[in-house]
């Protein structure tokens, strides 16, 4: 019979598919995997070139580093929370609008998404500074008397980060909301639920996987955020990525920077592992 020929055809098709993926795989290995491994190695090399754990010991010995990690997780958490509080109602409105209007509004949400983060961050600097648009109008309209300190501190950082992160939350939440069958809400109403109760008892629980996915994406991106805290934090908000940058730019200490990076990566992976345990990851991706 022709079993061998058919199996060979099958194998050839699979190899062809692999070939299509090869450029991307090669790129990821060369640009991502190898440098990360290299940095991982560097973190175990002392200044004099010998193998040592000196960089990790310093991370543990100096409480300043612990504070930086706490600050990183805190800023990421607050940003995520604000994104959920602002983004969920926004996604809900979008999900209820007619498709065309919703897509128009979605473009408004996405437009900043396609603009460089650096440009947007500096735009916020212009808007929020003492003589910026927000303060000028706030005082003109009599909302407040003295210019508010909106940049070079935590609030500036949060405003900028929330703005940049919002689409990352809105898109998965909107996706989850759009996939909720309208018949579920009809059934809830038919069984006696007012629109408010139908929302809380049916719509909200069914949209939670999207919220979880969006929050996870936002949180993890926030953990490695560099530009916005650097520009809008004014040196007062120092996150892990900022410390890594200054370790390299000011002290040329690649080993210390690498150790910070490795610890952040490990913490992030640990966080992901816990999160996916809490709510099985497949329910985020959707069955």
């Amino acid at each position: 019979m022709n079993r061998t020929e058919l199996r060979r055809d099958e194998l050839r098709e699979r190899l062809a598919l692999l070939g299509l993926g090869a450029p991307a795989i090669l790129l990821v290995v060369v640009v991502m995997a190898l440098p990360v491994l290299w940095l991982f190695g560097l973190s175990f090399v002392a200044d004099d070139g010998s193998l040592s754990l000196v960089h990790y010991r310093r991370l543990i010995a100096q409480p300043a580093y612990a504070r930086i990690f706490v600050a990183t997780f805190k800023v990421s958490f607050i940003t995520t929370a604000i994104c959920v509080l602002v983004g969920y109602p926004l996604a809900y409105v979008l999900s209820q609008l007619p498709r065309r209007a919703a897509n128009l509004c979605l473009i408004a949400v996405m437009l900043p998404f396609w603009t460089s983060i650096l440009v947007r961050t500096y735009a916020w600097l212009v808007l929020l500074q003492r003589q910026g648009l927000v303060n000028t109008w706030g005082i003109k309209l009599g909302l407040w008397d003295e210019p508010l300190a909106l940049v070079h501190n935590l609030s500036g950082t949060l405003i900028g980060m929330v703005h940049i992160m919002l689409p990352f939350l809105v898109l998965p939440v909107l996706g989850a909301m759009r996939s909720i069958d309208g018949d579920y809400l009809k059934a809830a109403a038919n069984l006696g639920a007012s629109p408010t109760r139908a929302f809380w008892k049916v719509f909200f629980p069914l949209s939670l996987p999207g919220v979880f996915a969006g929050a996870l994406i936002v949180f993890i991106i926030c953990l490695g955020f560099y530009v916005t805290p650097a520009v809008l934090g004014g040196g007062k908000v120092i996150l892990v990525s900022n410390q890594i940058a200054s370790d390299i730019e000011l002290f040329f200490n690649w080993g210390a920077a690498s150790a910070l990076g490795v610890v952040l990566l490990v913490l992030t992976l640990g966080f992901l592992a816990i999160a996916s345990k809490l709510a099985r990851l497949e329910s985020v991706v959707g069955r």
Partner: protein, 354 residues
């Protein structure tokens, strides 16, 4: 669960247009208390629209709907207190079976002890006792259908609406569920409106069937009257098989292809057609008193339980006859091209409006 109090439904002048298309064209319909009424029609006929208007999900342009003495046309869906089984069941995927059935009870503040009793009773009623802790996605299609039914009746609504609830099931399960649904209705006695496009299902289950087309009720009758005496060609052709032959009324008698026929309702003398059900027409060997038409056989189709013979009359119009496919009958089946007789009794010759 006990027999629920049931109410009649009175529908008057309900209209709904989408753009220029009339989905419902001033529908009048009376559903008797405790009746199992089926809305039967092709897709786009307006049957589902009417059901959604009754449930409150579609706001009509005008009209009146009364449940008993209560006008409900402006009542929000969650205040109508009707049970509904959706085509795709719409079971809440984030709740288990018991919680799905508990949903309407919680909203009505039924005490927990009584609620769990009623949930058990409802599950028993649909033959799913002990399935309360299952997740919805673990159930088969038929089981989901039963859970949806239990959820729709657990709060003892006086009216139950069903939107093609069996269309997703395979044929055998569907036929089983038809009988179960009907038995459940007889036990509980709530007024039931059932939507389907399956005429056999409609005839099997219903007290009466309303045939809907173009947003209007074409005919509402008991299954047998509907099948035996359709009022017009649409109903005749939509329900069952039929041959509709052109006829001429002369001197109070009906003539078809030049032959005078005895028909069941010769009073009607404007534009009419003669409707014949193929299984009520015999090929060859006419009996005394039968109407007889001569035709040339154009096709013979063997279909397992029955066989279908089609013929062309002298004027070219087509006539069909269906027979039970037992051995002797099959021996006598004519061949294509044979000239033979198609015979039927006066009682089976029905005139319908064109």
């Amino acid at each position: 669960m006990s027999r629920a109090a049931s109410v009649p439904i009175t529908i008057r002048g309900v209209a709904k247009t989408y753009g220029k298309v009339a989905a419902l064209d001033h529908v009048d319909l009376d559903v008797r208390s405790g009746e199992f009424l089926t809305l039967l029609g092709p897709s786009g006929s307006g049957k589902t629209t009417l059901l959604m208007v009754l449930a409150g999900f579609i706001r009509p342009d005008e009209g009146s709907i009364r449940f008993g003495d209560n006008e409900v046309i402006r009542l929000a869906p969650h205040k109508r207190d009707v049970g509904m089984v959706f085509q795709n069941y719409a079971l809440f995927p984030h709740l288990d079976v018991a919680a799905n059935i508990a949903f309407p009870l919680k909203l009505r503040n039924v005490p927990a002890a009584e609620a769990s009793q009623r949930i058990e009773a409802a599950l028993e009623m649909v033959q799913l006792a002990g399935y309360g802790k299952r997740r919805v996605h673990e159930l088969s299609g038929g089981q989901r259908q039963r859970v949806a039914l239990a959820r729709a009746i657990v709060f003892e609504p006086r009216i139950v609406l069903m939107d093609e609830p069996l269309s997703a099931l395979d044929k055998q399960l569907r036929e089983l569920m038809q009988l179960e649904l009907r038995a459940l209705h007889d036990k509980l006695g709530m007024t039931t409106i059932y939507v389907t496009h399956d005429q056999r299902e409609a005839l099997t289950m219903s007290d009466r069937v309303a045939v809907i087309s173009g947003g209007r009720v074409q005919q509402i009758d008991a299954p047998r009257s509907l099948y035996d005496a359709p009022v017009n060609r649409f109903v005749a052709e939509f329900i069952g098989e039929s041959s509709c032959l052109a006829v001429e009324m002369r001197e109070g008698r009906c003539h078809c292809a030049g032959v005078a026929l005895n028909v069941v309702n010769a009073h009607d003398n404007h534009s009419v057609l003669l409707m014949l059900r193929p299984e009520r027409v015999r090929v060859g060997e006419p009996r005394d008193g039968d109407n007889v038409l001569h035709a040339r056989v154009t096709s013979v189709v063997y279909q397992g339980d029955t066989y279908l013979v089609q013929g062309a009359l002298a004027d070219g119009s087509r006539i069909s006859a269906r027979g039970i496919a037992h051995a002797e009958a099959l021996d006598r089946v004519p061949a294509i091209g044979d000239s033979t007789t198609f015979a039927f009794s006066a009682r089976d010759a029905v005139l319908v409006r064109a």
